[in-house]
């Protein structure tokens, strides 16, 4: 069992409260790929597109992965494109590699870390609350 708590001080309706809990669980309950693949410049790629990957050593054969971001690097020495890839096709906000830029922009997994820190600072928890159990398959 691995547990985590979230505290949300903003009023919700009952359904939304359940759904937020489910969304957090769906994001966290599976191990996922947080990969990178570098190619020569591919300037027409967009974030969130699905990209087919074929590489035997990673056991991918025309496997669709999700590009969570696209990074182009360029200099007179050459131009490269790096795809940040995930195999999470369930969550709007999948876990991501830890990056300082993400921390500054409050995106990726850093959004979750920021959220945890915020919750720790602001939570007014009542340990006697009776939990409503929402099983998620």
């Amino acid at each position: 069992m691995r547990e985590i708590h979230f505290f949300d001080p903003i009023t919700k309706d009952d359904t939304a409260l359940n759904n937020y809990a489910i969304a957090e669980l769906k994001r966290l309950r599976n191990g996922i790929l947080r990969g990178t693949a570098t190619t020569p410049l591919l300037g027409d790629a967009f974030p969130e597109q699905q990209v087919q990957v074929t590489t035997q050593s990673a056991n991918y054969s025309n496997t669709f992965l999700r590009a969570t971001s696209i990074i182009h690097r360029f200099s007179p020495q050459g131009m490269l494109t790096e795809f940040q890839l995930s195999d999470d096709f369930t969550n709007s906000q999948p876990l991501d590699l830890w990056k300082l830029s993400n921390a500054l922009l409050q995106i990726g997994e850093n959004a979750i870390i920021s959220r945890e820190v915020y919750d720790l600072k602001t939570a007014i928890l009542d340990p006697t609350f009776t939990p409503q159990l929402v099983p998620v398959t």
Partner: protein, 647 residues
């Protein structure tokens, strides 16, 4: 040969990168923000406008808004034509029309057209092409300065990051010999627009558009590092907050409707908070699609738009329709369905959901790292939140008279409900109930909400012993000269019920055999209740409600809203390892309950020396705030009887 081109548009004023209508969800290429004259065809893919068929006086017209040509003396366009030729530009203004032109190539070029200063520009017509065929514009700007074009010689290195669910960013390391980009004709400033074009083919793609935010000259090497964030910064910097005409409380709204409001009223709004200070953001929502289902209540409490949209997308995940979003380099917000693996379909979005080039070893895959991990794995989530019913404060009494019901009416009594817009405590309406009995002076009964008894509010699942649910309501009575009798054993009460035989009842007023302080109002006898006065009650209810009718501290500023509690929800899965299917464990059950109000019991009281005419009425409320419950009644006496019910 990979292509690179970058430019800085300095002191940008009115501009159009997308040519899309800002306040529309219509993705049709022919639906554009520019006017098309007769005989002219024009479409926009969100980045480039393509038009043809222009002739003298006829073309496509841009309306940048009333703009000073002294402040913005340069019209800058990036354009090309399929067949070359010249293009006439007519700048309509407060003086004589400025007739300009420029010669188009078949490759992209940036043109700077100086304007006559001292004028107020109203519209700009691009037309009268000298050679037939398509003419393409990448953008049109009115700027305070000429643009800087960054050559490959000046760029030492750089990077562009295009992000989903957040803001793009770019970093450039430039040759800053003798302060070229700080103290010369090439100097640029914060807020200037940076556009970067990169491509693996003959024509580069527009990979970045954003604002310059950071300058860092470095010595030795005499270099300059600049960083920029993409146009999505508009959504990161705009806070969703109360507007004069649009509170950030959304009830029964779809995610798309909420996002539309974000863009229109909180991002692009030129008079946000009623203050006419332009945000200078112009994010189009042409490519925002509907994802997810209606959300009963969504409140954004001073979050920025990105955070709010991420929350909405999280809800879409739980609803089973996950969506994703990003802002492209041309200031378009894209909201599209995420799609299953190998089955993504972005529908009407002009960008395909699947990238056309496969990444393959031996073909184009230079390096890769594909780590998988469970470092962040959690299979039980405890979510502590604040619940409110109804979602919108006052919703149970806002023009809902037809959905209230009555019961246990004294024979002959008629209960007439109506919406009252003149006497209200909060909101715009109250629900009024008038009890009459044409054949007798004795009338009374109960009123409840909703008439269908299908509120579905599971009070037992809310709160805790230290923080019971609060029922927040206003009520008001008008007894006038009617008799004011409180029958022993039948004091006015308020009750919650699952059905007719299962009531949880509180005394609103004590009868003659019960101490005054054992009632919610702390008074004994209906005759001690003030007429035409709004009572505001916060009533702890449920199994932990107790009998102390004072307000309980709650979590946030919304706490004075109807039934509101803090709840704990634990979502869990028993899957410990990735790849396994979770199994169910127990279930959450909701019982159907009805919050009901008992407008006093049918009373029959006597007063010494008077006949026993039970002339009473009842008032009381329920459902959220019963704004102004007024009844007519006659009361001849006060009868006291013991009763304090809390079953």
């Amino acid at each position: 040969m990979p292509q690179f081109y970058a430019e800085v548009l300095r002191s940008p004023g009115p501009h159009d990168n997308s040519f899309r209508l800002l306040n529309s969800n219509d993705p049709s290429p022919s639906t554009i923000a520019w006017a098309k004259d007769i005989g002219v065809t024009a479409t926009s893919d969100g980045d480039i406008i393509t038009f043809s068929g222009s002739s003298p006086g006829l073309g496509v017209t841009w309306f940048p808004g009333s703009t000073s040509s002294t402040t913005y003396p340069y019209l800058i366009v990036r354009a090309k034509a399929a067949n070359g030729g010249t293009l006439a530009v007519a700048v309509f203004n407060s003086g004589a029309t400025m007739n300009l032109s420029f010669t188009l190539m078949t490759t992209w070029q940036t043109f700077t057209l100086p304007l006559t200063t001292g004028r107020t520009i109203s519209s700009i017509l691009f037309g009268n092409q000298s050679v037939a065929g398509n003419i393409l514009l990448h953008y049109a700007y009115l700027c305070g300065n000429t643009p800087i074009q960054l050559s490959q010689k000046e760029v030492i290195s750089g990077s562009v990051t295009r992000s989903s669910l957040g803001t793009d960013h770019a970093e450039l390391r430039l040759n800053n010999y003798r302060g070229k980009f700080l103290n010369s004709a090439n100097a640029f400033s914060f807020g200037d627009h940076l556009h970067i074009y990169l491509g693996q083919g003959s024509e580069p793609f527009h990979v970045y558009g954003g604002e310059t935010e950071h300058q860092e000259p470095i010595q030795p090497n005499d270099e300059m590092i600049i960083t920029s964030r993409g146009f999505g910064i508009a959504l990161q910097q705009a806070v969703v907050e109360n507007q004069p005409s649009a509170a950030p409380i959304y009830t029964n709204s779809t995610p798309l409707a909420i996002i539309n409001d974000f863009i229109d009223n909180h991002v692009n709004n030129a008079t946000k908070n009623g203050v006419p200070i332009a945000t200078n953001y112009r994010i189009s929502r042409s490519y925002a699609q509907s994802v997810g289902a209606t959300i009963p209540l969504y409140i954004s409490q001073f979050k920025n738009v990105w955070d709010s949209m991420r929350e909405l997308m999280d809800l879409s995940v739980a609803q089973g329709f996950p969506g994703v979003f990003f802002v492209d380099p041309a200031e378009n917000l894209h909201v599209v369905p995420l799609g299953a693996q190998a089955a993504a379909n972005w529908g009407t979005d002009p960008i395909p959901a699947t990238y056309g080039t496969t990444l393959a070893t031996g073909v184009n895959l230079v390096t890769y790292r594909f780590p998988r991990d469970v470092k962040s794995l959690r299979n039980r989530v405890h979510y502590f939140g604040v619940s409110q019913n109804p979602g919108k404060y006052g919703a149970w009494t806002e023009q809902t008279a037809s959905t209230w019901g009555s019961e246990r009416l004294v024979p002959g009594t008629t209960a007439t409900f109506s919406d009252d817009g003149s006497i209200v405590a909060t909101g715009k309406y109250s629900v009024k109930c008038i009890l009459t009995n044409s054949g007798s002076a004795h009338y009374g009964g109960g009123m409840f909400y909703p008439a269908g008894k299908n509120l579905g509010l599971n009070i037992t699942a809310l709160g805790s012993v230290y923080s019971p649910p609060l029922f927040d309501f206003y009520f008001r009575i008008t007894q006038g000269a009617n008799c004011k009798t409180t029958a022993l054993g039948s004091p006015p009460s308020i009750f919650f019920a699952t059905d007719a035989s299962n009531r949880f009842e509180y005394n609103l007023v004590s009868d003659g055999n019960t101490a005054a302080l054992q009632s919610i109002l702390g008074v004994q006898g209906i005759n001690n209740v003030t007429d035409n006065y709004w009572y505001h009650v916060l009533l702890p209810i449920g199994p932990n409600g107790g009998v102390l009718f004072n307000s309980t501290p709650v979590a946030n500023t919304w706490h004075r809203r109807s039934i509101l509690v803090r709840v704990s929800i634990s979502a869990q899965t028993l899957a410990l390892h990735h790849g396994l299917t979770s199994t169910m464990s127990g279930s959450i059950g909701k019982t159907v309950e009805v919050a009901e109000t008992r407008a006093g019991a049918p009373l029959s009281g006597t007063t010494a020396g008077e006949s026993s005419e039970a002339d009473t009425f009842s008032h009381t409320t329920t459902g959220q705030a019963l704004h102004d419950t007024r009844t007519c009644a006659r009361s001849t006496s006060l009868t006291r009887s013991p009763r304090m019910t809390l079953h």
